[in-house]
Amino acid sequence: MRRQISVMLFIVWLVGAIFVGNVFSETLVIGANVPLTGPAAQFGLGKMRALEMRIEEYNAKGGLNIKGVNYKMKLVAYDHKTQPGEAASVAKKLIYDDKTKFILAGAVGACCRAAETATIPNNVMFVFSCAGKELLGPDKPLNFRDSMSSEEQCYALMAIVKKANPHIKTIAVLSSNDTTGWDSCKGLIRAAEKFGIKCVAEEYFERDVTDFHPVLARILAKKPDLLDNAGTPLATGCIVFKQAYEMGYRGVKSWLGCGMPQGLVNMAGPEASEGTYLGSSWDYNDPKFNMRELTEKLKVYKARYGDEWDYTGISTYASAKIIFDSMIKAQSLDPHVIAQTMVETQPHQTFLGPYIFGNEGYYGIKRAGMHPAVMGQIQKGKMVNAGFAIHPDLAKLIGENWKFPQ
């Protein structure tokens, strides 16, 4: 008798779980294919938390209402351990097991290339922050980049640096030996040339090198006016500047891909970091170059997670909102339709300012995220905003004279 009752209760529960749940709300799985361990873990965690916060916000408002059905979103994040093989497996798991059509966080060039071997044939939207020309293109219309890569930023950085230091005639670039590094260096060299700055050294080093005296000795012998760390990861780049300073370099410094300015001051020391121009990071508290919403949100992040938020995490937070809003606007969960809507309804108002997907000229399709690029500079151990620049594609939509609201 007892067994029959338990069996019936089980069946009732099963039926309820399958049907009742679905009538009033469905689940939309949002995937994240990020490094949570390994050398690139700092990028992965920020992005995963960005998605976590966004999804909570939308779920609190009742989820996404699409064609009469309420979709609650669920974040499924896996760690690809900075290994491309794992990234490919994780992408397949997200697509086949967790059945998602949206992988909205990705990092590390080789891992994204591995993941797209699964996302492209399955028409899955894939949003990531790694640099690289081959990651975006008309043959992969569902690939989006949410943070501004070197290609979009180096022009702005060179413009601001040259304006403040007109004497600069030569530049030396060095970076880690990966897609971000290659792209950053080549982009910087191209941008520098437009300002009459010649490249005298272009060096790449393996990810785990910590002694830069040999390569710096080689670079400094060429006497560059400007030394740029291009796409080097945070800790390594700090060591580069620290050792360059110890070796007597007193020229101008810039770092296109520095994600955490406070880290730079801490690790390289105030003297070594003084005067460095930074792309990809700026003083988030200066009202002259920021949306107030960004400053507020950073405080919330710090309070909740106890960590500083880096640029790639911030850009994921902005792009997720654009995607979810586009789903609602388009009233569809078809990635292609949403992608179309995202591009057609720009510019989007985000806490980074007006945000668009553009740079069709370089990639052949409008998929590179762009917003007003603020360049920072370390002055007296603190980050100060040196200025900002607007990419031509963005200027077309918001006007050349756009300024941050005071």
């Binding site: 390994g38 080689r218 012998a221 800790a235 110890e246 007597g248 880290g263 801490n266 960590d307």
Partner: protein
Amino acid sequence: MEDLSPIIMTCIINGLITAMLYMLVAVGASLVFGILDIVNFAHGEFYMFGGFIAYVLFGQLHLNYFLTIGIAFLVVGTFGFFIEKFIFARFRRMLLQSFIVCMGLIWIFRESMRFIFGIWDKNVPVAFKGIIEIGKISFSVERLVITIVGLVLIVVLYLFIDKTNQGRAMRAIAQNPEAAALQGVDISYISSLAFGIGCGLAAIAGVLIAPLLYVSTGMGATMIITVFNIIILGGLGSVSGCLLGSLIMGFVNSFGGTFFPQAVVNLIIYMSIFILLVIRPRGLLGHA
């Protein structure tokens, strides 16, 4: 042709400093191999512990730098002693099994530190400020002090192995464990002691390097490959071989890295080690 002498001087000084740091980490691994006959891949992780101790005691709590070095040696050394006693002891002379144990320990150590300290690399403030400029060459006072400390420690180690009873016992075991046992040497205790000392020295190296670079959970991984190159070069189990190997490696990296792309230098190093293993496996100064 540009004036090469400042570059060459920089290479020499840099090579010496790098060699000193390598030596401190490598000597522990060499000792362990000589006495316990196992290849300890987890050795780099004790170096990493030293770095984190520096971060906590010197960076956060502002203890005296030399005191931190001492504490790191004692804490990590003792920890190493017990790890050997309770875990590695079962696998003495079993190459494959001890290798697997090392793998397991590496993952456990690294991930635990990541949980405790978070994912961001940690900064440790400079212990000795200032930059010395001699002509066209400049380097920091910090590096100089570290080199001196390293040299002192190596001399101390030499004296220990040469003069003390425990040191002699270690040499005896390295030469012939059975004979040593017959002479009354407590193999178990001496093995654990050797392991502990090796780990302690690696920890000191970690403390020394922390202000120069940064502290991260991955620092062991990058160090261990160089360390193994050095002990193969010098001879597994030989401390003077370790010194020679460190100097060679320090200078090769320093000169080679400046005048050739690092990748070429690395490839040449690996090929040379390979050839060395074929023609003279016991290394430059190792015993057969």
